[in-house]
């Protein structure tokens, strides 16, 4: 298992290299000369020499292959350059954004696991009951509501309404930002911070929670029809033991894959949630950087997303071994 993990970690390098090289290439296909954008906007006729000097300063005067090599040399030293837009250090920008995104995703995924899985399991056990029917409708609706609509409604119901009706201070949730932004053990909000975290976390979790619940239900039902479940029943095991030890453990595999993908995805692409709640994360920063042709920011943040994807996928694969003893990670091929 250890050698497997190391092998997989090493695989991140070529993956990141390929992904970023592709992005780097695409950047040069975007319309608009970055040097012209750096030195001035549309309202200014910039002398040619000035554009040239800016190109030299940002290394844009070299040929694309040379720039490519230089880019990788810097990146391997973890020097991510300066933003074209406001000259801020990209390392610094990344240092601000990445924890925000990771924390928000973490809580969204916890909600997805806690709510999504339990709802799915209950629906499966009580198939065709009122509870099952109601959750089926709710999950269908939840997965169809656009994120910004849900965010807007939640803001109104849980922040604006309480404020207008003089609810006690602690009961008013917050609409924008991260408040005092204080955390213990990286993930646990302290002080007022939780009031800022609740709404974006629920909003970000909504769609994936609904999907996880539906998938859990389907997976449980599929497993419950399989031979080993019938054997377990025949052995006279208790219902509880059948569901938890045999059913759940086997039904978890596809759901874990989904949750792992969700975790990785929400770190890098929670653009809408981040926008509606002013949660300054990676997704919205990448979106803005693309609009502004801000290559250093775009590439650096994407690199982090790629790494997060790879690491989380690895964790998911490792967890397969736990849930399904048939998976042998060190036996060569992939698990």
């Amino acid at each position: 298992m250890i050698s497997y993990t190391i092998r997989r970690l090493l695989l991140i390098l070529p993956t990141a290299f390929a992904a970023l090289s592709l992005l780097f290439g695409l950047f040069f296909l975007l319309p608009g000369d970055p040097a012209t954008l750096i030195v001035g906007g549309a309202n200014r006729n910039v002398p040619e020499e000035v554009i040239e000097r800016a190109k030299v300063r940002y290394g844009l005067d070299e040929s694309v292959p040379e720039q490519f090599v230089n880019y990788w040399k810097r990146t391997l030293r973890w020097d991510l350059g300066e933003s074209f837009q406001n000259d801020r250090s990209v390392n610094e920008i990344l240092g601000e954004r990445a924890p925000n995104s990771i924390r928000l995703s973490f809580w969204a995924i916890l909600i997805e696991i806690a709510v999504g899985l339990s709802v799915g399991i209950i629906s499966a056990i009580r198939r065709y009951s009122v509870v099952d029917r109601v959750t089926t409708v709710i999950t269908a609706v939840a997965s169809a509501i656009p994120v910004f609509v849900l965010g807007f409604v939640l803001q109104y119901a849980l922040a604006v309404y309480p404020n207008k009706h003089d609810w006690p201070e602690w009961a008013k949730l917050r609409v924008q930002g991260r408040g005092p932004d204080t955390w213990t053990l990286f993930f646990i909000p302290t002080g007022e911070t939780w009031r800022y975290l609740v709404l974006p976390a629920i909003t970000l979790a909504s769609v994936s929670t609904a999907l996880a619940a539906r998938m859990m239900r389907g997976s449980m039902l599929e497993v419950s029809g399989s031979d080993f479940m019938r054997t377990a029943k025949a052995k006279g095991l208790s219902e509880r033991s059948i569901v938890l030890r045999h059913g759940l453990r086997n039904a978890m595999l596809p759901v874990i894959t989904l949750i792992g993908l969700d975790f990785a995805t929400t770190i890098g692409t929670a653009v809408l949630t981040e926008t509606v709640f002013n949660w300054n994360g990676i997704g919205s920063t990448i979106a803005r950087a693309v609009g502004e042709r801000d290559a250093p920011v775009m590439l650096a943040l994407t690199l982090v997303v790629v790494i997060a994807y790879a690491v989380i996928n690895l964790i998911v694969d490792l967890s397969y071994a736990f849930f399904d003893p048939r998976v042998r990670l060190d036996s060569g091929g992939h698990g």
Binding site: P31, G32, V39, G40, G41, A42, N43, R44, N45, V46, P47, E49, V50, R53, A54, Q85, N86, D87, R88, E96, P146, F148, V149, G151, F152, V153, Q155, Y156, A159, V160, Y161, P162, N163, K164, H165, K172, R174, V175, Q176, G177, L272, E274, T275, V276, F277, N278, N280, S284, R288, G291, E292
Partner: protein, 573 residues
């Protein structure tokens, strides 16, 4: 100056539908005893500033200034948006100030300069700098502080979008082009406390421009920077009523009182607030939600929520802003441009129902435009535009006449606008209006981030634009938007009429205000009625909403700027 182009607002269209629902809820939520008579307070936003009654102390959180992306620049040399000018204006004082106590007649008054004079033909201006004005770090503001700032802002490697203003100064063009080390026309004498500026051509209202952000002074600390772009990301030092508490972040800009402030143009050194926190919001509707949830004290009124905001809070909707919302018709376009198509352009202008736009989109909060230059600009005259009224019959007649001359429209005219910034509804009405007289047109949204760049590069056919005055001069509209010098910049319709240019140049050089005004009006009449390059729609109004239970006075002048040093809170503590 352009209002900030909101980049993060692709969501708006969808959210605004929700806003209607929320607006309905908002009415129901009106608490008894809450804010019953707030509209009266709204009326007081422009009242005169009587310092004897100002309550000192307290702090506010502003959610109404930075809606969209975080401000790109807050360095006076680089900023181009009205949003960030709110911060620049609180941090710095310039040679002159604009006294807007009579909104209909803004006056230029000396500020950091205690006095100034121009020679007879307005080519040499001499400013005498006030003694005892200091930057917030204690350094004295000297004539050389201005020279330092101007040389910095005109350095071609650093200069911002407004740097073209240095062309007005002798040697400015050479400096910008990299052909000269310094601006030849500027001389500072720190002993005599005089700053002498020689212009490249006569300019009778240079004093108005001299107070603009590009010309604000800089302390010697800027000389120590390796890279000038570090200035705005650090603890930028100014000489205004406020100073930065800490370097800005993408999320907030925090200003605290500058106790060493030398005072406004009248020498009044009162700064009411202890602290102003500007928060950046990515989306206007959720910023408004945050305001309603008590997370801030001001907000920008999102479109479609005007009457809701008016009913529940105080607003600055009664403040007329010196800005115009208009469309341009490109003069070199084969379909709508040129002399032969002038009747088509007239028909288009007559067909547009400005009342309908004002009512349906702006809930009647704006003023229909009867020309480009808005009331409040010296030299303004009502009703210059013959074709800025809604007259469908005459529009039909002109269009039929144009067709009878053998012209035809083979492809629908593109009504272009920056997408996601709330212009969809305006354009939909215009397309409808044109359709009513048989002119085929199609709404053409363009990506907001590159919209103005594309227009500057010549993409305009029938395109939307908006402009806010930087200073109270007529030429801030007529020169910056329609002079041939501005082609490739803000003259998106590529208006190019030598006769017009000549009138503007002459008007700028004329020192007699009445005569100058006449020339400007003559030029604008030509622009509106003979060339018909521009179709003005309306003049702007203020769009801040604030909580009257917290804020007792929120003065916005007609440049859109808030006098932050005069904002008072009800409970100053």
């Amino acid at each position: 100056m352009k209002k900030h182009r909101r980049l993060g607002v692709r969501l708006i269209a969808a959210v605004s539908a929700l806003a209607i629902v929320a607006a309905a809820c908002g009415d129901d939520d009106d608490e008894p005893g809450g804010s019953g008579s707030t509209s009266d307070i709204g009326q007081e936003t422009t009242t005169t500033l009587d310092n004897t009654q100002l309550q000192v102390g307290g702090e506010i959180v502003d959610l109404g200034t930075f809606v969209g992306d975080p401000p790109e620049h807050i360095d006076p040399a680089l900023n181009v948006t009205l949003d960030a000018y709110q911060v620049v204006n609180a941090l710095y004082d310039g040679l002159t100030d604009i006294d807007t106590s009579d909104p209909a007649n803004p006056k230029i008054v000396p500020h950091v300069a205690e006095s100034y004079e121009a020679n007879d033909d307005a080519t040499v201006w001499t400013f005498t700098i006030r003694d005892g004005v200091e930057f917030s770090n204690g350094e004295q503001v000297l004539p050389s502080s201005f020279v330092r700032a101007w040389e910095r802002a005109s350095n071609p490697d650093f200069a911002g979008d407004y740097s073209y203003l240095f062309n007005f100064i002798k040697g400015g063009a050479e400096k910008l082009a990299g052909d000269a080390e310094t601006i030849a026309g500027v001389t500072a004498d720190d002993e005599a406390m005089t700053l002498t500026v020689e212009l490249s051509s006569p300019y009778s209202t240079f004093d108005a421009i001299a107070g603009f952000q590009l010309f604000l002074p800089m302390p010697s600390a800027v000389d120590e920077l390796d890279d000038q772009s570090e200035w705005e990301n650090g603890l930028m030092i100014g000489n205004g009523p406020f100073k930065l508490e800490k370097p800005r972040t993408d999320e907030e800009i925090v200003l605290v009182r500058n106790d060493g402030w030398a005072g406004d143009a009248n020498g009044d050194t009162t700064v009411t607030l202890d602290k102003v926190t500007f928060r950046t919001s990515a989306d206007p509707d959720s910023a408004y939600n945050a305001f309603e949830a008590g997370e801030g004290d001001t907000a920008n009124i999102p479109s479609g929520r005007v009457s809701e905001a008016e009913d529940n809070y105080a607003t600055t909707l009664d403040v007329g802003i010196l800005g115009v919302y208009y469309f341009e018709l490109k003069q070199t376009d084969p379909v709508v441009g040129g002399e032969e198509n002038v009747d088509l352009r007239r028909a288009i202008s007559l067909a547009v129902n400005r009342d309908e736009i004002n009512e349906a989109v702006y809930e009647n909060t704006r003023q229909n435009a009867t020309g480009v230059t808005p009331p409040g600009i010296p030299g303004f005259k009502e009703g210059l535009c013959e074709y800025c009224i809604y007259d469908q019959a005459r529009a039909q007649e002109l269009f039929d006449g144009w067709k009878a001359d053998g012209n035809e429209i083979t492809e629908p005219i593109k009504v272009q606008f920056n997408a996601g910034a709330g212009h969809e509804d305006v354009v939909a009405i215009i397309v409808d209006n044109l359709d009513a007289i048989g002119i085929p047109a199609v709404a053409t949204p363009i990506d907001g981030e590159t919209y103005f760049t594309q227009l500057a590069e010549g993409a305009c056919q029938f395109c939307r634009s908006g402009w806010f005055a930087d200073y109270p001069t007529y030429d801030n509209f007529s020169y910056d938007l329609f002079h041939s010098d501005a082609i490739g910049g803000n003259n998106h319709g590529e208006h190019n009429n030598p006769e017009y240019d000549e009138l503007i140049d002459e008007a700028k050089a004329t020192t007699d205000p009445a005569k100058s005004a006449e020339l400007f009006q003559q030029a604008e009449t030509m622009l509106l009625n003979d060339d018909v390059t521009v179709i003005p729609i309306n003049w702007y109004k203020g769009d801040y909403v604030y909580n009257p239970e917290k804020i007792s006075s929120f003065p916005q002048n007609n440049f859109g700027l808030i006098a932050w040093e005069r904002v008072t809170v009800t409970d100053a503590g």
